[in-house]
C-alpha cells in the first residue's frame, strides 16, 4: 500500500513539474493539445526551423514566432463539452 501511495505521489510531483504528464483520465483534447503545444514551442525554440517556416511564409521571423505562440493558446480547436 505504501508503494502505491509513493507511486501516486511521484506521479503527482511529475505532473506538477512536467506539463503534459498524463494520467488515467487524460482526455483526447488534453493529449492532442499537449502534443501540439510541444511541437509549436519546438518550432519557436529551434532557430533554423523558425527561419525555415518564415521563409516559406515570406515574413519576418518575429511574425512567425508570434503566429506560432498565438496558435499555442488553443492549438487543436475548442475544448469538448464537459461530460458527466
Amino acid at each position: 500500500m505504501a508503494d502505491k501511495l509513493r507511486a501516486q505521489q511521484q506521479l503527482e510531483s511529475l505532473q506538477a513539474r512536467y506539463v503534459g504528464t498524463g494520467h488515467a483520465d487524460t482526455t483526447k483534447f488534453e493529449w492532442t493539445s499537449n502534443i501540439a503545444r510541444d511541437s509549436l514551442s519546438s518550432y519557436i525554440g529551434h532557430p533554423p526551423m523558425l527561419q525555415y517556416m518564415s521563409i516559406g511564409l515570406g515574413q519576418p521571423k518575429e511574425k512567425t514566432r508570434i503566429m506560432l505562440l498565438e496558435r499555442m493558446i488553443q492549438p487543436v480547436g475548442q475544448p469538448p463539452e464537459p461530460q458527466d
Binding site: V19, G45, P47, P48, Y52, I55, Q59, E62, I66
Partner: protein
C-alpha cells in the same frame, strides 16, 4: 567483441553558419571599447568594429556544440567589463568572462536547472538580466521562470544563488526583459497570456476573451524571493518590450510594442498615464493603407547626459526613432519619426563609436555609420498626444514616405550566404577546382553566388613590358633601405633593370650585365647588389641614383666567373650568403667578408646528381649567417647542409635528407608564425615537378625536417616566392595557378589557399612607399597586387535575383543556371503596374484615404520606384510573385532573362529535360502551383507543369505548353529521356506531347504525404517524401504499360529536404530537423529489384506494415543543427577525393569525408572520445547528446570537435595523445587532422 560499421565519415564544417540568432553590443574585453557579441548557429563570436580597421574584425569565435537560444550581457557594479550569459539547449545557466589575452571564454557559472533539449517548460527561451547585473531571469515559453541572484564575493569572484521560482502554470510568455530601476530591487517585466480559462470553456468565449498582461516580477533582495508585483492588461497583439532607462530623474518602465502600437508603460501606472504611438505606415500606390505594422527588432541608445532614444524596426524594414519628452522622469509625450529603411534584422546594435550593426535576417550583414541622429530630416513627427492610449479607439493612422538612406551610410558588409535555398557544386569554367553555386537570401535581397576557395587580392597596377619576361626580382640598394628601388626582369636572353621612382623607368648605368639571362638578384652586404647569371656572379658596389631619376652610378664591379665549360643552374642567396650550383653538380658557397666582398668558402659540395634548386633562408635576427641550406637534387631527394660550423668546425655537411616522390622544382626556407611556444618556426617548403607542395618544419638546431604536410596544388611544377601577406610572412607557390601558403590568422594552423587572380609565371615581393605587395609577370604583362586580407579563404561573386529562389538548375554545357523564384504574400509586378497607373491617372484608390490622395494632389511623385532591394517588394496577403530567371555566371555575370508567372502562380520545382521523343531537344520543365497557401495547412487550387523551350544557347526561354495536374508537382527530374514528376503522393512519368505532357507510367500513392525530391541512377528512382523519408522505385520499361514499382522504404519518418545517391544502393540526405543521414538498401532487395524485366514478383510482394515490401538500413546519422537544403557527392579541390558536400539553410557549408583507413578512423574515434571529456563544450551541453539530438549519432566523427584539438594547450594535447592506442605521436595526429581538411576540403 567489437564490430565496426563498414562506413565511417568525418563531418567537417567548411563555412560557418551566418544566420544571426542574436547580436548584442558590449565591452567584453574591458578596454572601454564596444564589441559585438553574435550568436550564429552554434557559434559565439565577438566582432570588433573600428574606424581604424574600416569595419569589422572577428576577434573571437567558438563552437559551443549546443543550440544557442539567447545571449545577454551583464556587468556588476564597479566592474570594467561586460560578462556574457547564454541559454542553450543544455538545460544549464552558463555565464562567461571573455579573456582577451588568451582569446577564450572562461566559464563563471554552470548551473543546471532542467532537462536538456528545447522543451516547452524548460527555461531558456527567454533570458533577461537586471541592468545593474544583480539578477538573471530565465523563462520558458510556458509556465516556468527562474531567477538567479548574482553577488560579488571578494574582488573578482561572482557567486550565483540557487534559483528562485516564479512559475505560473498555463501561461505563455511572449517576451521578457529586465527593467532599469536603478538600485531598487530588481524588477523583470514579462508579456504573458493565461490560457487556463480557454482550455476549459467549450463555448469558445473564453478563447476570444483571453487577455495579454504585462507582469512585473520583483526580486526582493532582502527577503530573497520573487513576487509577482503587479500586472496590467495590455494590447492583445503586444509582442515585444524595450527597457526605458531608469534611475534618478529618469522615467524607468517599458515600451510595449504590438500591432500598430508602441506604448510607454510603468509599474502602477493609471490608464491615463499610458502614452501610445501608432506605427506610421508607408504611403504609396502599392501599399494597403489599412495594413498595420509590428515592431520586429530595435535597440535603445543612451547618450551622454541621460538623453536616450530608440531605433525600432517594423516588419517592412523601416526603422523609426522614438524619443521621450520626460523632464525629471515624468513622461509627458513620446514621439516617433521615420529614420531610415534597413533590411529586416534579427538584431540591431548601436555602437558608441557611431556605427549601427544590422544583423539581417537574410543576406549580407551590414555595418552602417551614423551620419546624423535624424533631427534634420523633414519626415513627419508623430506624438503620443495624437493617439488614444487604447488601440481599439478610433484615430487617424500616421503615414510617411520611405526614402533612400539619409541618416545612415553603409560602410561595410559581411558576406553572408544565409539563407541558402539551393546549392550545386560544378566546374563550369573548367578550373582546377569546382565552384560552389548557391542561391541565397529572401525576397528582393536574394542572390546567386559563386563561391570559390580562394583568397581575394587587391589588384594595384597592370602594365605592358617591351618583351616577354621569364622572371622578376625587386631589390633594395643598401641594407638600410626601407623600400625597393630596382625591378630586375629576366627576358629571354637579356636583363632589363627598372628604377622605381615617381614613374618606373629603365635604369641606365646600374652596373648590371644586361645581355644575359639573370638567375638571381640580391642586395648583398651593406651597399652592394649582386647579379647571378649563368656564367658567373657580378657584385656591384654602391649603386646610387643621385638625381633620383633613372640615371644611376655605381662603384667597383667585381665579377666571379664559373670554371670553364660549366654554367650556373641554380642559386640561392641572402644578404650575407650566396650559394650556386653548377651544371657539373658542385655547389659553391660564398659569404660576405668584412669589407662587403664575396668570399668563396674553401669547402664545396660535390653531388653525383644534378642539382635542381637551392634555398638559403634570410639571416635570422642577431646572427651573421643563416644556418642551413637546402638542396633539391635530381635523384628525388632534398638534402639539408649546414652553413654554420658544426661541433667539429666544419660546414657544408649533409645534416638531413628528405626523400621525395618526384623531382623537386623549387625549394624555399622561411620563418612563419605558428602556435609553437616561440610564436614562429623555420619551415622548409619543397615544390615538386608533379605539382605537389611539401611543407616541413626545419629544426633550427639539427636541421631535421619533421611534421610534413603534402598537398597537390596543380598540374605544373611548383615554384616559390617569399612574400608578406596581411603583415605576416607567407609563401607564394606558383603552379598552374598561384597559391598562398600561410598561417591561418584565426586558428593559427597551416593553410594553403589559391589566389583569386590570373595565373602568372614569376613573382617577387614588392615594397614601395605607397604599398606593399607582390609583383608578378606573365608573358609581357607585369602586374602588382597586394594581399591585404587572409582571414577569409573563400571569394564570392554575387548576382542579385528578384524573389526568394526555390530551385537551382544548371545547364552545364551552356554555362547557364535557371532559378525558379517565388515570394509569398507579395504583390506581382502586373498588379503593381496597375496600381501605379491608377494612381498616376488620378483614379481613386480602392481604400484611398485622405492623406494619401492629398499628397498626390499636391504633386508628390509616388515614391514606389524605390528599389525593392532596400525597401522590399510591396506586400499583398495571399498573393504570390514568382518568376524564372536565367543566369549567366561566367561571361555576363548577370541575369540574362526573366519570365514572370501570372495568375497567382508560383514556381515550386524545375528540371532540365532533353526529351528523347523530340530528338533530345532541351526543355525546362517548371512545376507550378496556383493559389498555394501554407496556413493553416497546405492548400492549393491547382498544379501544373510548364514546359519552356530552351533557345539561344540556353539563354532564352520560350513558353511551350502547360499541363494541368491534380496537385502541384513539387519534384521534377529528367529520367531516361522523359520527365518524371512527384505529383502529390503519386510518381508520374511524362513524355512531351504537342499540347501537353503525356503520362506514360505512374505509381499511385508512392509516398505517404507528398514527393518533394527525386533522384535517379539507372532504372532506379529515389522519391523523397515530405514527412516519411524516402522510397526506392524501380522503373520497368520493357513491358507495356511501363511500370513504376516502389520496392523499399525507410523505417523512420524523416522530413526530407534533400537527398543524393552516393552509390546505386545508398542515399544520403538531410531533414528539416537538421539531421544528416545515410540509408542503404539491403543488397538482396537491390538485386531482386533489377532481376526481372516486368517486375511481376515485385508487384506480388506482400506490403509490409502498409508500405513497400522492404525496409532500408541506416548507415549514418548526424545532427548538424542546420537544415540541409542541398546535398551532393562531389570533389571539392583539384585532385581531391569525392566527399559528400551539403549546404544548410543558415549558410553552413559542410563536408562529410569518408575515412580511407581503419587505423586513422580508430585514431579519430579515440581523439573524439578524449576531447568530449577533456575539452567539454562551453555551452554545458554534452557533445555526444548534442550530435545525437534526435537519433543517436552513427558512424560519424565530428570534425569540428576534432579541430578543437589544434587549439588546446600543448600539455593537454600530449596527454591526450599519450593515452591513445596505436602508437600515435602528436605530430602525426596533427597531420592527420590537417589532412582531413587540406586534402578533401578547404
Amino acid at each position: 567483441m567489437t564490430s565496426f560499421s563498414n562506413m565511417a565519415l568525418y563531418a567537417l564544417t567548411v563555412q560557418q553558419p551566418s544566420a544571426t540568432q542574436q547580436a548584442i553590443s558590449g565591452d567584453f574585453t574591458g578596454t572601454n571599447k564596444q564589441q559585438i557579441l553574435t550568436a550564429n548557429g552554434s557559434r559565439l563570436a565577438i566582432l570588433e568594429v573600428s574606424r581604424r580597421h574600416k569595419g569589422f574584425k572577428e576577434i573571437f569565435s567558438q563552437h559551443v556544440f549546443g543550440i544557442i537560444r539567447h545571449i545577454e550581457k551583464f556587468r556588476l557594479a564597479g566592474a570594467t567589463k561586460d560578462l556574457i550569459a547564454i541559454t542553450t539547449d543544455s538545460g544549464r545557466m552558463v555565464t562567461y568572462e571573455y579573456l582577451p589575452d588568451e582569446q577564450k571564454l572562461k566559464t563563471l557559472h554552470y548551473e543546471t536547472f532542467g532537462k536538456s533539449g528545447i522543451r516547452r517548460v524548460i527555461p531558456g527561451e527567454y533570458l533577461a538580466v537586471d541592468p545593474k547585473g544583480r539578477a538573471i531571469m530565465v523563462a520558458s515559453i510556458e509556465k516556468n521562470k527562474l531567477v538567479y541572484i548574482l553577488t560579488r564575493s571578494g574582488q573578482t569572484d561572482i557567486s550565483i544563488s540557487s534559483p528562485l521560482e516564479a512559475h505560473k502554470p498555463q501561461t505563455l510568455v511572449y517576451y521578457l526583459i529586465g527593467l532599469d530601476v536603478g538600485y531598487d530591487n530588481p524588477v523583470f517585466a514579462a508579456l504573458e497570456l493565461d490560457f487556463s480559462q480557454s482550455d476549459q470553456d467549450s463555448s469558445g468565449q473564453a478563447y476570444n476573451e483571453v487577455e495579454k498582461e504585462l507582469v512585473y516580477y520583483e526580486l526582493d533582495l532582502g527577503l530573497n524571493h520573487v513576487v509577482r508585483k503587479w500586472s496590467e492588461t495590455v494590447d492583445r497583439t503586444s509582442n515585444m518590450l524595450f527597457r526605458v532607462p531608469g534611475g534618478p530623474d529618469m522615467p524607468s518602465g517599458v515600451l510595449c510594442c504590438g500591432e500598430d502600437n508602441i506604448s510607454y508603460r510603468r509599474i502602477y501606472n493609471n490608464a491615463s498615464e499610458v502614452q501610445r504611438l501608432a506605427i506610421p505606415r508607408r504611403e504609396g500606390a502599392t501599399e494597403d493603407p489599412n495594413r498595420k505594422r509590428i515592431i520586429v527588432a530595435g535597440t535603445v541608445y543612451t547618450l551622454k547626459g541621460g538623453e536616450f532614444f530608440y531605433l525600432l524596426q517594423t516588419d517592412d524594414g523601416d526603422a523609426f526613432k522614438v524619443t521621450f519628452d520626460a523632464p525629471g522622469g515624468d513622461v509627458n509625450n513620446i514621439k516617433i519619426k521615420y529614420f531610415d529603411t534597413l533590411p529586416i534584422a534579427s538584431s540591431i546594435c548601436l555602437l558608441k563609436a557611431g556605427f549601427v550593426y544590422c544583423a539581417c535576417e537574410s543576406g549580407d550583414r551590414i555595418l552602417y555609420e551614423l551620419e546624423s541622429l535624424g533631427e534634420e530630416t523633414d519626415d513627419p513627427v508623430f506624438e503620443s498626444s495624437q493617439f488614444p492610449a487604447d488601440p481599439l479607439a478610433p484615430y487617424d493612422p500616421p503615414f510617411f514616405r520611405p526614402r533612400p538612406l539619409t541618416n545612415l551610410t553603409a560602410v561595410e558588409k559581411i558576406a553572408s550566404m544565409n539563407p541558402i535555398m539551393d546549392m550545386e557544386v560544378a566546374n563550369l569554367t573548367m578550373e582546377d577546382a569546382p565552384q560552389i553555386h548557391t542561391v541565397c537570401g529572401t525576397g528582393a535581397r536574394s542572390t546567386f553566388r559563386t563561391t570559390r576557395n580562394a583568397l581575394d587580392v587587391l589588384d594595384l597596377i597592370e602594365s605592358q613590358l617591351p618583351a616577354q619576361a621569364t622572371s622578376v626580382w625587386t631589390t633594395k640598394l643598401t641594407a638600410e633601405d626601407e623600400y625597393d628601388t630596382l625591378i630586375v626582369l629576366s627576358l629571354l636572353s637579356a636583363t632589363l633593370v627598372l628604377k622605381i621612382g615617381e614613374d618606373v623607368d629603365e635604369a641606365t648605368n646600374a652596373g648590371f650585365i644586361t645581355d644575359t639571362t639573370t638567375l638571381g638578384v640580391q642586395q648583398f652586404g651593406e651597399y652592394g647588389v649582386i647579379q647571378i647569371h649563368s656564367r658567373g656572379v657580378r657584385h656591384i658596389h654602391g649603386v646610387q641614383f643621385p638625381n633620383n631619376d633613372a640615371a644611376g652610378e655605381h662603384g667597383e664591379l667585381t665579377d666571379w666567373h664559373t670554371p670553364p665549360h660549366r654554367t650556373i643552374v641554380a642559386c640561392a642567396s641572402n644578404n650575407r650568403q650566396v650559394a650556386i650550383a653548377l651544371s657539373s653538380g658542385e655547389i659553391y658557397y660564398f659569404e660576405c667578408d668584412s669589407d662587403g666582398g664575396l668570399a668563396k668558402a674553401d669547402e664545396e659540395i660535390s653531388l653525383d646528381c644534378p642539382v635542381n634548386c637551392l634555398a638559403i633562408p634570410d639571416v635570422p635576427e642577431g646572427s651573421i649567417r643563416a644556418f642551413f641550406m637546402a638542396v633539391g637534387c635530381g635523384d628525388q631527394t632534398c638534402r639539408v647542409f649546414n652553413l654554420s660550423p658544426d661541433m667539429s668546425g666544419e660546414i657544408l655537411r649533409s645534416v638531413s635528407l628528405l626523400a621525395l616522390s618526384a623531382q623537386p622544382s623549387d625549394i624555399s626556407i622561411s620563418y612563419m608564425y605558428d602556435k609553437s611556444p616561440r610564436g614562429h618556426s623555420q619551415y622548409l617548403h619543397v615544390g615538386l615537378r608533379s605539382g605537389i607542395y611539401i611543407r616541413s618544419n626545419l629544426d633550427e638546431m639539427t636541421g631535421e625536417a619533421y611534421s610534413t604536410r603534402r598537398r597537390f596544388l596543380g598540374p605544373s611544377p611548383v615554384r616559390f616566392t617569399r612574400v608578406i601577406a596581411a603583415g605576416e610572412p607567407a609563401i607564394l607557390a606558383i603552379t598552374s595557378r598561384p597559391w598562398l601558403s600561410y598561417t591561418d590568422p584565426r586558428t593559427g594552423t597551416f593553410a594553403t589557399t589559391p589566389l583569386n587572380y590570373t595565373p602568372f609565371d614569376s613573382a617577387w615581393s614588392f615594397e614601395s612607399a605607397q604599398f606593399k605587395g607582390v609583383i608578378c609577370i606573365r608573358g609581357d604583362g607585369l602586374r602588382i597586387f597586394a594581399l591585404d586580407s587572409i582571414a577569409d579563404n573563400t571569394t564570392h561573386e554575387t548576382i542579385p535575383l528578384k524573389y526568394t529562389p526555390r530551385k537551382l538548375v544548371g545547364f552545364h554545357e551552356q554555362q547557364v543556371y535557371y532559378v525558379v523564384e517565388s515570394d509569398n504574400n507579395t504583390m506581382d509586378p502586373k498588379t503593381i503596374d496597375l496600381l501605379r497607373d491608377q494612381l498616376n491617372n488620378g483614379a481613386k484608390n480602392e481604400d484611398g484615404d485622405l492623406v494619401m490622395n492629398g499628397d498626390v494632389a499636391n504633386g508628390h511623385h509616388p515614391s514606389d520606384e524605390l528599389p525593392p532591394v532596400e525597401f522590399g517588394h510591396p506586400k499583398a496577403p495571399g498573393r504570390w510573385a514568382s518568376c524564372i530567371q536565367v543566369i549567366d555566371p561566367i561571361n555576363e555575370k548577370a541575369v540574362v532573362n526573366t519570365v514572370e508567372l501570372e495568375r497567382n502562380q508560383c514556381a515550386v520545382s524545375a528540371a532540365l529535360v532533353a526529351f528523347e521523343s523530340r530528338s533530345d531537344e532541351v526543355f525546362l520543365a517548371v512545376g507550378v502551383a496556383t493559389d498555394l497557401s501554407f496556413t493553416p495547412t497546405y492548400t492549393y487550387k491547382s498544379g501544373s507543369i510548364h514546359l519552356y523551350k530552351v533557345l539561344d544557347d540556353g539563354r532564352r526561354l520560350e513558353f511551350y505548353h502547360e499541363t494541368e495536374l491534380s496537385a502541384p508537382p513539387l519534384a521534377l527530374l529528367a529520367f531516361k529521356g522523359k520527365l518524371v514528376a512527384g505529383v502529390g503522393r503519386d510518381l508520374v512519368l511524362f513524355d512531351c506531347g504537342m499540347k501537353s505532357v503525356l503520362r506514360k507510367a505512374q505509381a499511385v500513392n508512392c509516398a505517404a504525404t507528398r514527393i518533394v525530391d527525386l533522384k535517379t541512377q539507372g532504372s532506379r528512382l529515389i522519391a523523397s517524401d515530405q514527412q516519411h523519408s524516402i522510397t526506392y522505385v524501380v522503373h520497368k520499361d520493357l513491358i507495356h504499360p511501363n511500370r513504376l514499382i516502389p520496392f523499399v522504404e525507410d523505417t523512420v519518418a524523416r522530413w526530407t529536404t534533400c537527398t543524393d545517391m552516393v552509390d546505386y544502393d545508398t542515399v544520403v540526405g538531410g531533414d528539416k530537423f537538421g539531421n544528416l543521414w545515410m540509408v542503404r538498401c539491403p543488397s538482396k532487395v537491390s538485386e531482386a529489384s533489377d532481376e526481372t524485366e516486368d517486375g511481376q514478383h515485385l508487384i506480388q510482394d506482400r506490403a509490409f506494415l502498409a508500405g513497400a515490401p522492404n525496409r532500408l538500413d541506416l548507415v549514418m546519422h548526424y545532427f548538424a543543427n542546420d537544415i540541409p537544403v542541398s546535398i551532393q557527392k562531389t570533389s571539392l579541390i583539384a585532385g581531391g577525393e569525392k566527399v559528400i558536400f551539403w549546404a544548410g539553410l543558415q549558410g553552413t557549408l559542410g563536408a562529410l569525408i569518408p575515412f580511407a583507413s581503419r587505423r586513422s578512423f580508430k585514431m579519430f574515434q579515440q581523439l573524439e572520445l578524449a576531447l568530449r571529456t577533456e575539452d567539454k563544450p562551453i555551452s554545458g551541453r554534452d557533445h555526444l547528446a548534442f550530435r545525437s539530438y534526435y537519433i543517436p549519432v552513427k558512424s560519424v566523427i565530428d570534425g569540428d570537435l576534432i579541430e578543437r584539438f589544434l587549439v588546446v594547450s600543448r600539455d593537454k594535447k600530449e596527454s591526450i595523445v599519450a593515452r591513445m592506442e596505436g602508437n600515435w605521436d602528436l605530430a602525426e595526429v596533427e597531420e592527420q587532422i590537417w589532412n582531413m581538411r587540406g586534402l578533401y576540403a578547404f
